[in-house]
Symmetry: C2
Subunit: 246 residues, 2 copies
Amino acid sequence: MSKGKIYVVGIGPGNYENMTLRAIKALEESDCIAGYTVYCDLVRDKFPDKEYIQTPMMGEEKRVELALEAASNGKIVSIICSGDPGVYGMAGLALSKVEALPDMEVEVIPGVSAAFSGAALLGAPLIHDFSVISLSDRLTPMELIEKRLRLAAQGDMAIVLYNPQSKSRSGYLAKAYEVLAEYIEPERVCGIAWNIGRQGQRYKIFRFSNLKDIDADMFSTVFIGNSRSREILGRMVTSRGYDSEK
Amino acid sequence: MSKGKIYVVGIGPGNYENMTLRAIKALEESDCIAGYTVYCDLVRDKFPDKEYIQTPMMGEEKRVELALEAASNGKIVSIICSGDPGVYGMAGLALSKVEALPDMEVEVIPGVSAAFSGAALLGAPLIHDFSVISLSDRLTPMELIEKRLRLAAQGDMAIVLYNPQSKSRSGYLAKAYEVLAEYIEPERVCGIAWNIGRQGQRYKIFRFSNLKDIDADMFSTVFIGNSRSREILGRMVTSRGYDSEK
């Protein structure tokens, strides 16, 4: 029996064009593609002849177990993640579950995470130091999330919010607003990108005072500027401090 | 005369395989490629017939001006950046210089930044909330850098250090160590990746107490784990908090 292998692959924001050549090659080489149903649907067109292991949201543990089982049976399996597999993705879970299978080869293939595909759409909000914080309290206590928001704002770092809210977690952005409003002035430039690289892609630049009212969903990413973020010709741009930017 | 255009393109860590299809198409379409000499050398093999505008390190303002001049003369110009153009890259400078040329089209094409290509190599150090901080004080006062380090560590965020040190900035990692040692225990898992995606690629997992002695250069990226980072089979893995990771 041939030796199986696991790739944990970042497919980028969703469209084929934003995948790396390395990610495409890994999927081509794979017998089997494992992923959240929505992500499988994003790649099926280009890779129709693969065996698919699909599990719903929150089925991550099961998904990795099924992928490992297939790989243990000699298959090459790609566990796909939107964006980058190492940012709120499956790379950590895959590597920790492999602890019991030390002979299993696992290769993590990076991709373009929503922080960067969204930033490119908006302009250049993350050009200097920044913090990436998820508002999901499914696996993290809300107190810790709020503490991180506070500290990032105190450090005048630009902030990217992943998982700003969802149907089951409504009002989380308003909660983040309350926490951050102590440190951030109402006129601070902010942005949001929806459905990056997918049908319905759009973005909006707004002021911090409107953060609580922004229509964010689980397919959106929110950007809060630092004190040097400006709006330039409809884009959100943070200064690095070059002479001409002063 | 045809209308010029600017692409600001992330070429990823350096090898062709880690470029996105979108970045490759932009370079194919371009008449002219502008970049730091080292990055131009990384792509010249695959795009030999382009006109190259090369400027040395610290020549960023000049580089963007030359690129804009060429685009104003009707050329399609790609300003290339290693990694992602929106993370310590040229996207901000390009967008701010275009303020005086509102008809010039500028498209930012995201790429895989060293935080993620390095993380993939090391394992999954950034799987949850994290801060990205540059140790370069060329454009940022050292007091602000130190403040950000302190705040990120207080928030128990994983930390990625860009530009950890260079020949002209030696001892900066030791300085960061002094600042962080107040918050981070000596046994904390850390990692470093050198020359990601290029000749001489390697990585090392180490403990925080060794941070001050690590041989970092300007082609390396340093990862400081959070309190839930572990070493698993020679990889650096941060837990997201799944049941099986506890």
